[in-house]
Amino acid sequence: MSEERLQLESQLCEEIKKFTKKNIWPEASADDEKQIFRKEIYQKLGDLGIAGMTTSEKYNGMGLSYQSYTRALSEVARASVAYAVTLSVSGMVQNIISQFGNNSQKEKYLSELAKGQEIGAFALTESNSGSDASALKSTAKKTKGGYLLQGSKIFITSGGVAKTYIVMARTGEEGAKGISAFIVTDGMKGFSYGKKEKKMGWRVSPTTELIFNQCFVPKENLLKEEGEGFEIAKAALDPGRVTIGAISVGLAKEAFYQAFKYANERKQFKKPIIEFQAIEFMLAEMNMEICASELLVAKACELLDQIKASKKNNEILKNTFGKYASMAKVKASDTAMKVTTDAVQILGGVGYTAEYPVERFMRDAKVLQIVEGTNQIQRGLIARYLKSEILG
C-alpha cells in the first residue's frame, strides 16, 4: 500500500467525519422517522469528491481505487447507511457507463454523476423477478429512432430523486440473453414514479416503483448491443456487492463504537457494565467479526483493483474476485446484523428507543442481507465460483 494513498484516504475520512457530524447526525433520527431524503446533503457529499471516486478524472471523478472508495463509503455509512447506499448505487451507474458506455454516453452522463450534482439509479428488480432477475418482464419494443419501454420496476433505490436510471428491459427472447440495458432519464415522457415503499430501515433512502408507459427511449440510450443487458448488470453487481460489504462494515463499526462507549459509561450494580464478562466478551466478539469482515472487503477490493489495472482478460482472477465479492457481502452483512442487534442489547432499554441511534442501525442492517443478491443467492454463487476454482 502506498503511503500517499493511505494519507489521502485518512484525510478524506476525516473530512467525511467532520461533514457527517455537522450535516447528517443532527437530523438523522428525525429524517429516519419521517423518511426524508435531502438532495443537498448528497450534493455536498459530492463536493467532498466522493460521488465519483472510481470514475476517471476526465469525467470529473477522482480516478481512485476501490480500496480508497470503500473506505470512504464505510465512513459515510457510520453516520448514514442511507446516503452511503445512494452513493454506492450512483457509483454503480457510473461504473456501468464507464465500462460499457460509448464516448458520447460517457460525455453526456458521467460528469454530473461523478460530481454528485445528480444521482444515478439501477433498475433491475420487478415484482415477480427479484432473485430470478433474468425473468424480468418489462419490454423495450423497437420503434423509429429508438425503443418504447413498457412495464414497471420495484424497490428502486433513489427512485424519484435520481436523474439517470439504468433500466433493464427485454428486447428479445426469454431469459438472460433477451435483456438490454438502457439509460433513462427523469422527465422522459411515459416514465413516472409509483409508490414509495414504507420500510423497516433505510428510511432516508427512497425506494420507489418506476413505471414505464410507452416511454420512448432514443436508440443512442441503449448500452452496448441489444441482448447485452444482463451481462452488464452482472458485471456491475460484483463490485456493487463489495460496496454493500463496505457499508456493512461502516455500520457495524459505528454500532460497536456506540455500544463500547455506553458500556464504559453506564453503571449498574455500582460498576460500569463493561466490567461484566457478558458485556465485555460480547464487545470483543463484535469487534473480531468486524475486523474479519473488513479484511474480506479489503481483499475483494484489492483483487478488483488488480483487475481494473490489468490490460489482459484474466478469467482466473475474475473468478477469485467474484468469490471474494460474494463472501465479503455475506460475511459483512451478517456481521452488521449481529453487531447492531448486540448493540441494542448492550444499551438495554435505551437501545430500544429512538433516542439512541442503535435501534436504527439494527433496522438499517437487515436489508444488507437482502439487496444485490440475497445472502442465500450469494452462497449459491460462492459454490459455483468454487467449482471453477477447484475443478477448473
Partner: protein, 381 residues
C-alpha cells in the same frame, strides 16, 4: 397442548377469535402511528381477560400462569405491542394487587381494573436502575400518617394511559427497604412524562412516571414497609413466564407467514418452498417453535401446580425470546425485499421481538440468576 384443561382450551379459542377480530386488523395501523389501541383494551375487559389471574370475587377469571400464557401467545401472534400493554396491566399491576394488597385495596381497585374502566401499570425501573432494580431511589418518606414520594420511574408500559400505578419505592437505606404503593392519577399522585419513541412495541405506550413530592395516605401502601422485595421477586417469575408467551406468539406468526409466503412466491419458475435453503429456514423455525411451546407451557403448568422457581422462569425467559428474535430475522430473509417493506408484517415481528430480550430482565440478568442458583445448589438436574 395435550395437557391443557378444557377451560384452557376454551380460553385459547376465545383469545384467538378476539385477536383475529380486534387486534390483527389494527396492528399495522397502531404500529405505524405509534398509538394505543384503547378500544381493544376495553374489549379485553368484556371478554374477561384483564384479570385473568385475579379472583372471581373481584371479577377476575381465577386462572393461572398457563391460561395467562395462552392469552399472551394468542394476542402476541396478532399484535405483540397491544399484548405488552395487556401484560403490564394484567400481570404487572392486577396480579400484584391480587397477591399483595389488602382486602380493602382489592375491593377498591380490582373491579375497575378488571372491567377495563381503568388502565394499570407497574413502576419498578428508573433511569439509573434497570438491571439493578433493587437499587431504586424513588423515595417515600413517612410524615405523620402520610408519605411523600419523590422520584422518577422510567420505561413504564402504559404510563401515559394509566389511572392506577403499582409503584416500588425506597423507604430506608438498606437495599431491601422497598415498599409498594398503589397510586391514583385522579388524586394526582403521579404524573406521566412524555411518551418514548421506540423501535418496536409501538402500540404500547412507554413513558415516565413522575412523583414530585406526592402526598399519599397510608391506605395506599401495600403490606408493611419493606415487604416489597419479596413481592417483586415473586411476581417476576410469573412475568417472565408470561412475557415469553408474547415471543411464542410472534414466533408462531413468523412460521405461519413464512409457510404461506413460501407457497405463494415463485422465483426461477418454482415456488421458493422448493429450495432447500428456504426449507431449512421453515423446518428449523417450526422445530424451534414446537420446542419453545412445549417448554413454556410445561413450565407454566408446573408453576400452576405450585412448583415455582426463579431458575426455571429465568431459563424460559433466556431461551425463548432469543430464539424468537432469530426466527423473526429469518422470516424477513425468507420474504426477501418484501420482508423489509411495511406491507408485510414480518419486519414488525422483528422489531417487537427484540424487546423480550430486554424487558422483565435482560438476557444477561437471566444468565446471572440461573448461574447463581445452579452454582449455589450444585444439584444434578
Amino acid at each position: 397442548m395435550w395437557f391443557f384443561s378444557s377451560e384452557e382450551k376454551e380460553l385459547q379459542k376465545v383469545c384467538r377469535d378476539f385477536a383475529a377480530k380486534e387486534l390483527a386488523p389494527k396492528a399495522q395501523y397502531h404500529d405505524e402511528k405509534e398509538s394505543f389501541n384503547l378500544a381493544a383494551f376495553k374489549k379485553m375487559g368484556e371478554i374477561g381477560v384483564l384479570g385473568i389471574t385475579a379472583s372471581a370475587d373481584y371479577g377476575g377469571a381465577g386462572l393461572g400462569a398457563t391460561a395467562a400464557t395462552i392469552s399472551m401467545e394468542e394476542f402476541g401472534r396478532a399484535c405483540a405491542s397491544s399484548t405488552l400493554s395487556y401484560l403490564a396491566h394484567t400481570i404487572l399491576c392486577v396480579n400484584n394487587i391480587q397477591n399483595n394488597a389488602s382486602k380493602e385495596q382489592k375491593e377498591k381497585y380490582l373491579p375497575k381494573l378488571i372491567s377495563g374502566e381503568w388502565v394499570g401499570c407497574m413502576g419498578m425501573s428508573e433511569p439509573e436502575y434497570g438491571s439493578d432494580a433493587v437499587g431504586i431511589q424513588t423515595k417515600a418518606v413517612s410524615v405523620g400518617d402520610k408519605y411523600r414520594i419523590t422520584g422518577t420511574k422510567m420505561w413504564i408500559t402504559n404510563a401515559t394511559y394509566a389511572d392506577i400505578a403499582y409503584v416500588y419505592t425506597r423507604t430506608g437505606p438498606e437495599k431491601k427497604n422497598l415498599t409498594t404503593f398503589i397510586l391514583e392519577k385522579n388524586k394526582k399522585q403521579f404524573a406521566a412524562g412524555k411518551a418514548i419513541h421506540k423501535m418496536g412495541m409501538r402500540a404500547s405506550p412507554t413513558g415516565e412516571l413522575i412523583f414530585d413530592n406526592s402526598e399519599v395516605e397510608i391506605s395506599h401502601r401495600v403490606g408493611k414497609e419493606g415487604d416489597s422485595i419479596y413481592h417483586m421477586m415473586k411476581n417476576l417469575e410469573l412475568e417472565r413466564i408470561t412475557i415469553s408467551g408474547i415471543s411464542l406468539g410472534l414466533a408462531r406468526a413468523c412460521v405461519e407467514q413464512c409457510v404461506k409466503y413460501a407457497n405463494e412466491r415463485k422465483q426461477f419458475g418454482k415456488t421458493i418452498g422448493n429450495y432447500q435453503l428456504i426449507q431449512k429456514i421453515i423446518a428449523e423455525m417450526s422445530a424451534e417453535y414446537e420446542m419453545m411451546r412445549c417448554f413454556l407451557y410445561s413450565v407454566a403448568k408446573e408453576y400452576d401446580k405450585g412448583n415455582k422457581g426463579p431458575t426455571v422462569a429465568a431459563q424460559v425467559k433466556l431461551a425463548i425470546p432469543k430464539i424468537a428474535t432469530k426466527i423473526a430475522l429469518d422470516a424477513i430473509q425468507l420474504h426477501g425485499g418484501y420482508g423489509y417493506s411495511r406491507e408485510f408484517p414480518v419486519e414488525r415481528y422483528l422489531r417487537d421481538s427484540k424487546l423480550m430480550e430486554i424487558g422483565a430482565g435482560t438476557n444477561e440478568v437471566m444468565i446471572m440468576i440461573i448461574a447463581k442458583n445452579l452454582l449455589k445448589t450444585a444439584q444434578t438436574i
